[in-house]
Symmetry: C2
Subunit: 248 residues, 2 copies
């Protein structure tokens, strides 16, 4: 394994040269909509890739902010911790999504990013991103869109946590995952959950037992098939119906 000597990166992690121009995620990721030539400029900004093994932290709350990260492959969660030990999973991120934007405002990360499976990320040093987006309008604009999308996503989670009942939350969660897997070319109906029931519960504002019971009920009703972490969606319309209903 090749281990170049880069200041920011622990030596225990493998790093390789990134190349957006050869990345099949580029239409999903930061260089969306750029010309070939512009993408090459981005290539030179995105210094290296880095492997992050399952359960390792990409960054921790309190660490200084230096870069944002694009997920090349794998699966992450982000969470926030309160002094008293309570924690809240704020999101699950997959290939092509951007991590670390929470750190821009105070120059310090405010949440933890943990790999839920062996993953690979591209490091985008933030000062260089700002420099380059002064040159490339499309990059500037797309980065703004990415941040705004994160805000809109957060509003969706607030809606979920603020107004929905347990089964609706889980339905929304499954539909969201399914949709994101679809747009990455994976099956919409069958996937493997990378997170535990406890992590799903934290994200959805529920206890793990409630998540488990809701899964069981969905299975009893023929909506899905659950085998531990393996999910097969049998009746996507039925799940959508759960969401549009008006119980509370």
């Amino acid at each position: 394994m090749h281990k170049p000597n880069h200041p920011v990166i622990p030596l225990t992690l493998t790093t390789i040269k990134a190349a957006c121009s050869q990345c099949n995620l580029r239409e999903l990721c930061l260089p969306y909509g750029l010309s070939e030539q512009e993408i090459e400029q981005v290539d030179s900004m995105v210094g290296v890739r880095r492997r992050v093994k399952r359960s390792q932290h990409l960054y921790r709350a309190g660490e200084g902010f230096e870069a944002i990260y694009a997920i090349r492959s794998g699966f992450f969660k982000t969470d926030v911790l309160l002094e008293d030990g309570r924690n809240q999973v704020t999101g699950f991120q997959m290939a092509g999504e951007i991590l670390g934007m929470d750190g821009i405002s105070t120059e310090t990360h405010t949440c933890n990013a943990v790999a839920l499976e062996d993953s690979e990320i591209c490091i985008i040093p933030f000062p260089q991103l700002e420099n380059l987006s002064r040159e490339i309008h499309a990059l500037q604009h797309h980065f703004h869109k990415v941040m705004s999308r994160e805000i809109v996503r957060d509003h969706g989670v607030m809606m979920l946590l603020g107004t929905m009942r347990a089964e609706e939350r889980l339905a929304a969660f499954l539909l969201n995952l399914s949709q994101r897997f679809t747009s990455r070319g994976y099956s919409a109906a069958e996937f493997h959950l990378r997170m535990t029931r406890d992590e799903i519960g934290s994200y959805l504002g529920l206890k793990l037992e409630t998540v488990s019971r809701a899964f069981s009920r969905f299975q009893d009703e023929g909506l899905i098939n659950v085998q531990q972490k393996h999910i097969r969606i049998l009746d996507i319309a039925g799940i959508k119906k759960l969401l549009s209903r008006q119980p509370s």
Copy 2:
């Protein structure tokens, strides 16, 4: 009242020339940290101010996105609506804060912004903001910080909605308001709520009756004094203690 003919602005609304250089909020607002000369450039970008009367919309979900807005004076709420009628207040905004960033990602606003009292906002056309932030590094960087701060704030709300009990949520809400009033030079201990119990409840993921009961209990315990919308904080340390406790 002066009524210039501006395409975007309803004629019923008064508009006046904005001037960041003469605005005492500029250290709180978008032009934070800019030189006098740079602020003048921002002045020329911020076309006009606009008055928004109580209960009027600044923008609605579904409307095209053209500009972000800085609150010059007044008080707003933002909320999201689901098809089935449920709605979630996603935030309350006061002077110096920025509205409208939800619209960047899809070029369409995804939430509603409503004035909770007669307010005045500065219109910042987004294409011009992007142009100018390519010239003024400090503006570019500060705008990124503002967006990031919004993401971090949203994470805080998720934590609140996901892990806290009713009284903790209300305590966090009061402390947050108090702190924001303080940094605007108002009293930390005494203020007027611009929103109804129902709106507070929507924001906190509670029913209005629960909000009302929590207020009453706080009053019984000598933490605050509530007179309808008028709040006086008597024991800020006691309120903070509610938050650090570990009940759930």
